[in-house]
């Protein structure tokens, strides 16, 4: 039986980390050399929530589309849309909490 050395971590603390975190490599990349393409994704480059990232990604693609078509005017609408959407969601939240929107 292994004895716990000083500084050894509790099993729960270890499991929290080694099962959910750390570098992950797809099994196919671990068993074959021929014809594999390695993709690396550094998801934590910017610490952001998934929501923030999705918003960011969709805004970027709108900008890319707009700059491709040369139609930059549409971009000014984006801000308004997002603001309106946010106000709407705040209204919904208030309603759910039983607070009337002034």
């Amino acid at each position: 039986m292994a004895t716990q050395t000083p500084g050894s971590a509790s099993l729960a603390e270890v499991l929290d980390r080694i099962l959910d975190k750390g570098v992950v490599i797809d099994v196919w990349a671990r068993v074959s050399v021929v014809g594999i393409e390695i993709l690396t994704v550094e998801a934590r480059v910017v610490v952001a929530s998934v929501d923030t990232f999705l918003t960011y990604a969709s805004e970027i693609s709108k900008i890319e589309q707009a700059s491709q078509t040369g139609d930059m005017d549409e971009l000014s609408d984006l801000e308004i849309e997002t603001t309106a959407a946010r106000e709407h969601s705040q209204d919904v939240e208030r309603a759910q909490m039983g607070i009337a929107s002034e």
Partner: protein, 208 residues
């Protein structure tokens, strides 16, 4: 004990290491497989899919902590549990393809270890987690390179964070965490680690 395959614990800057530590499935010694500027820390293994037993989990972590502590300390980019490779060719292929990501990750966590901090409120003690988070950030953030929130799986767990702490700051960090007990009434402070910086690397390598 030896096998055909390689169990990988993490990646360090290129170095020949041989450590007398017991790894996953009781394998030893721990050694390295190199590709250019990187070395993977490995043990031999028979089974491509080692069981997630408590012993194997502790062994994965034990090897990484031995690397962290080796001769004044090493920086390591840790793997998730279960990263077994068919052989050295496959492993070197991944080290080659992922070299930029591994190198950047090594730089990001350079000289750092992970510490866990949990604040557990006694029964009936009412604390606002958001306020606690802000206060603890002021208390600890100066002593850490970075920190991330972990799941607060109970209401009484008012704070659950991981901190990336430089080796030379660990004592100051530990003391500061201990002092948190005096800041809050009715709160138990639990710190854990040092761990390899599991929470501060995020590399996913796939195949197509």
């Amino acid at each position: 004990m030896s096998g055909n395959h390689l169990y990988v614990y993490g990646v360090v800057e290129a170095e020949d290491l041989e450590l007398d530590v017991e790894g996953v499935e009781g394998a030893s010694p721990v050694r390295t497989v190199d590709h250019r500027t990187l070395s993977a820390v490995v043990t031999d293994i028979d089974d491509m899919e080692p069981e997630r037993t408590d012993e194997n989990a502790q062994a994965h972590d034990r090897v990484l902590r031995a690397v962290l502590d080796h001769e004044g300390g090493r920086t390591v980019v840790p793997m998730q549990f279960g990263m077994t490779f068919k052989g050295a060719r496959e492993l070197k292929n991944v080290l080659r393809s992922g070299r930029r990501a591994f190198t950047k990750a090594l730089r990001d966590v350079d000289g750092g270890v992970e510490r866990g901090v949990k604040l557990v409120a006694d029964e009936g003690v009412d604390l606002d987690p958001e306020r606690v988070e802000a206060e603890v950030a002021e208390w600890l953030d100066g002593l850490a390179v970075e920190s991330v929130a972990n799941d607060r799986y109970s209401d009484r767990l008012v704070l659950n964070r991981s901190y990336l702490v430089l080796r030379e700051e660990t004592e100051a960090f530990e003391t500061a965490v201990d002092d948190l007990e005096d800041v809050y009434d009715g709160v138990t402070v639990k710190q854990s680690g040092p761990f390899a910086p599991y929470s501060f690397v995020d590399i996913r390598i796939g195949a197509q």
